[in-house]
């Protein structure tokens, strides 16, 4: 299990390879990459600044991972979330889950993303041609998390 909050970009292929190498018996690897979009709510995005709450953020991510491991039979889970100033098409977040079978890997990966979206203290501020604005939380994210 590994949780990282960092400014630096990450290499998806290398992270997947490392997580796979950490356990024998892996048959399924589900992963998710969140990416900065160039448009949000019809506004053009110049930069996206990601803020977090050092200490609490890492703890919240670790709890989400622990809960996923309790719910599904998985080998390992990696979460990397970037902070700082990003631009469109930059990678924001990576979740990788290894397991013996695909059903558990998919479910745990989607669960971690849904919980992260509603429970991990990160906030996005967008710079658009009309100025800066804090991104508002979406009801659809609460609904996605409530499914589990």
């Amino acid at each position: 299990m590994s949780v990282r909050v960092q400014q630096e970009d990450f290499d998806v292929g290398r992270e997947i390879a490392q997580l796979r190498a950490s356990t024998r018996g892996v048959g399924a690897v589900a992963s998710f990459v969140g990416v900065v979009r160039d448009l949000n709510d019809a506004a053009q995005i110049r930069t996206l600044t990601l803020e977090h709450y050092p200490g609490m953020t890492e703890k919240a991510l670790e709890r989400i991972v622990v809960e996923a491991r309790q719910r599904w039979d998985v080998y390992d889970i990696l979460v990397i979330h970037r902070v700082g100033v990003l631009k469109p098409s930059d990678q924001i977040v990576l979740v990788v889950v290894t397991s013996a079978h695909r059903g558990e890997a998919f479910a745990a990966c989607e669960f971690v993303m849904d919980y992260l979206k509603t429970r991990a203290p990160f906030w996005k501020k967008e710079m658009t041609p009309d100025g800066e604005r804090w991104v508002e939380a979406r009801a659809s994210d609460d609904e996605a998390a409530a499914r589990w």
Partner: protein, 84 residues
Amino acid sequence: MVRLVYLARLRDAFGTAAESVDLPGNVGNVTALLEWLARRGEPWTHELAPGRAVRVAVNHDIAGPGTPIRSGDEIALFPPVTGG
């Protein structure tokens, strides 16, 4: 003495990232703290008005209205999260 931490939109609104304050003896939980802060006047009153979405964490754990607050605690106020 408690440490108050403001994040994201609330830090911008309050113009500060953190402060240390002595709370009155009757401010013993999250609800009482938010009411006490709202009585400071603007921008506190507006940002902490009932119906505004404000989340509170006490010592890095998400707190509810009745979560107790004690001297030495770090209490963070922030809007709903938007990461991922």
